[in-house]
């Protein structure tokens, strides 16, 4: 009987069984940021415990950094205190910090891969639920709480229960104008926001085989929105090609050995999954959320559900609560919903390929006069390359604000926030009430190109129509 990648990585990193029945798992790579690490360092200091493997810990600052104010001290003294605390902790413990002055700062889930720190067959933890992103490389990556950040700093391990594995096949071919974001929104809508509880999701099938690393990252990123703590794609030539020559990737003879090792971690053809789900790519259309959790989505040509469409009491209550918050009428089309803000960025969709794809279609178009559109590159490296390619000019000329790197309006811990009950077309990952910084603010999740289409027309629109993306002949 073969093994899944999850089991192979787990077995290679399991230290022992703890008295409470959990497994002590070695965490090879620990990523930290300013929001969830300071308390962990505080707990270590209190107990006088050193950082066990500072060379396996990497830090960046992303949640609180302003994107239109580069000079310190920041106007928000709390943000300034947090960045200084991280600097101090990294200095004190000898931890590599991709600070704002290094040209390598950015959202932690974008920095890890682009620096080549994220590698197949490894375990990764970070005090952020979107750590599942790194699974795109065939790593097992866990979002953890601050006490576990403390555990990993202190011991390079943590206590975990083994997850089950659900294989999700997406077979066939996506239609033009349908993106990785639509795939994951569709998966979450199909399996539910808690459908993945207790599972790691293994994504595969023809669509994933042909996806770029950045597309795989978009899907793995939102695994947690479906309740799955980890999500991954088996490593293949696409993975190795992406990693080659990245700063922290193995070099020379080590590279060949590493590729052979990485390849061996891929799930065996005869491995047994706890569950298998298959989805046809052709069934997926551009998807937009209408509610207050990422599972509340519809295709662009569908209508917003009515309360009575809920199959259970709880589902009906959920629809009712969502409609009230969103100020939407059940039965209305999602298309045509007026938007106030367009946000392009985040660890889900703030990568170079996202910006490139949008720029291709945005060239020569103009943001609707009533829309504030902002583009926030996911990292300084993304911003730099985009600027070299002239993408910033395309965005600026269209009427987008071109910002510095960070999490920005995905969770609004920096000055980028919705105001009042503004509606935001957003390429981010969560549409929870208040998520984008205003208690009554409203978030519609969608792909980057759908955000651009909404920005241009001022309302939720089908990007395929707005930008003239045609179905291939014969379909």
């Amino acid at each position: 009987m073969g093994k899944s990648l999850f089991e192979k990585v787990w077995d290679a990193h399991a230290v022992c069984e703890l008295p409470n029945g959990q497994t002590q798992l070695l965490i090879g790579t620990h990523l930290i940021h300013e929001v969830t690490s300071p308390q962990a360092f505080g707990m270590l200091a209190e107990k006088g415990i050193p950082v066990r493997h500072p060379e396996r810990t990497f830090a960046t600052v992303d949640h609180i950094v302003p994107t239109n104010e580069m000079q310190e001290p920041y106007s928000d003294p709390l943000a300034q205190a947090m960045i200084e605390e991280l600097r101090r902790n990294c200095d004190e413990h000898g931890i590599r910090f991709f600070d704002t002055t290094t040209g390598m700062q950015g959202i932690v889930h974008i920095v890890g891969p682009e620096q080549g720190i994220t590698q197949p067959g490894t375990t990764i933890a970070c005090g952020d639920s979107h750590t599942s992103t790194h699974g795109a490389f065939g790593a097992i990556a866990f979002g953890i709480g601050t006490s576990q950040v403390r555990d990993v700093l202190a011991t390079q391990t943590m206590a975990l229960n083994k997850l089950k594995v659900r294989r999700i096949n997406v077979d066939g071919q996506l239609s033009p104008g349908v993106y990785a974001k639509d795939v994951i929104l569709h998966i979450i809508r199909t399996l539910g926001v808690n459908g993945g509880t207790g599972f790691a999701y293994e994504y595969g099938g023809e669509v994933f085989d042909s996806f770029s690393m950045e597309e795989r990252m978009t899907v793995c990123n939102m695994s947690i929105e479906g309740g799955a703590r980890a999500g991954y794609v088996n490593p293949d030539e696409t993975t190795f090609a992406y990693l080659k020559d990245r700063p922290y990737a193995p070099k020379g003879r080590d590279w060949e050995a590493a590729v052979a090792r990485w390849r061996s971690f891929a799930s065996d053809a005869d491995c047994l999954y706890d569950d298998v789900v298959t989805i046809r790519a052709e069934e997926i259309a551009p998807t937009v959320t209408w509610g207050i959790n990422p599972g509340q989505g519809v295709f662009i040509d569908q209508t917003i559900p009515r309360v009575e469409d809920g199959k259970t009491v709880s589902e009906r209550a959920g629809i009712d609560e969502a409609l009230q918050h969103m100020q939407f009428e059940g039965g209305e089309p999602i298309r045509g919903t007026r938007i106030n803000v367009a946000f392009l960025g985040s660890c889900t969709n703030g990568r170079l390929s996202d910006l490139k794809e949008v720029a291709t279609y945005l060239k020569g178009r103009t943001v609707h006069p009533k829309v504030q559109a902002i583009c926030v590159p996911g990292s300084q490296a993304v911003a730099r390359i985009a600027e070299e390619l002239g993408l910033d000019t395309v965005f600026r000329e269209a009427g987008f604000e071109w910002r510095g790197a960070g999490c920005s309006m995905c969770l609004a811990m920096n000055p980028d926030k919705l105001v009042g009950d503004q509606i935001c077309a957003s390429s981010s990952n969560r549409n929870f009430k208040g998520r984008q910084g205003s208690v009554t603010g409203r978030t519609l999740l969608m792909s980057p190109l759908m955000v651009a289409a909404a920005a241009v027309t001022g309302e939720v629109s089908d990007a395929r129509e707005v930008f003239g993306i045609l179905e291939p002949a014969g379909v």
């Binding site: 230290v15 409470n20 493997h53 509880t197």
Partner: protein
């Protein structure tokens, strides 16, 4: 220092209804601009409890009759979303010592257990009974028995579940695993030695 063995939790309850209550709801992100967890209890469920001008909204946690409740009752997939430990920390620091729900999101559950705050699940119909009693008689004492996996109130008992590993951890005073993790340093290094990437290769 040995940790407390948590075999049962007794207190008064308060129900915050709804499924999929996310961690942004429990503690909005702007309150995470801090370098300690101190004071987070004050902001638990802030945006559903307070208007923007700071006045109170209608919410069970604002009702005097539920003041001092230490058992939080909610629906399915409680604590979904972010991995922020700020969420269970805020609940704990607001005086809660256990959460009863129809289901929990994975990361929230783990974070809570590690604080020694049991999270137990019960069937929806049983939770409806519990909610009705709590709402009618907020002074009723409720006991979560982690040993017997049951919730007792008045003359009733309803079954509850908790993942076995977490249950053992609570019962044996092993809910914070740090000491155990630290005690295996040699074994950890032996595993690390077989992983070339740990040495940057």
């Amino acid at each position: 220092m040995a940790l407390e063995k948590i075999t049962e939790v007794t207190g008064r309850g308060v129900s915050v209804n709804g499924d999929d209550i996310d961690t942004d709801r429990i503690i909005p992100a702007r309150f995470m601009k801090c370098v300690t967890f101190d004071g987070l209890g004050e902001y638990v469920f802030h945006d559903v409890r307070r208007n923007e001008d700071g006045t109170d909204r209608t919410h069970p946690l604002n009702e005097a009759r539920f003041a001092g409740a230490s058992l939080l009752i909610s629906g399915n997939n409680f604590g979904c979303g972010s991995s922020r430990e700020h969420a269970p920390q805020a609940i704990y620091r607001a005086g809660f010592r256990a959460v009863i729900a129809e289901g929990f999101a994975e990361i929230f559950f783990g974070n809570s257990i590690q604080l020694g705050m049991p999270c137990v699940t019960a069937e929806g119909k049983d939770l409806d009974v519990l909610r009705a009693v709590v709402n009618a008689e907020p002074e009723v004492l409720i006991t979560i028995d982690v040993v017997k996996k049951e919730i007792r109130f008045r003359d009733r008992r309803i079954p509850c579940e908790i993942r076995e590993g977490a249950r053992n951890a609570l019962l044996n005073g092993k809910w914070d695993p740090l000491q155990d993790l630290l005690s295996h340093a040699e074994e950890v290094e032996a595993v690390a030695a077989n992983l070339p990437y740990m040495a940057g290769r």
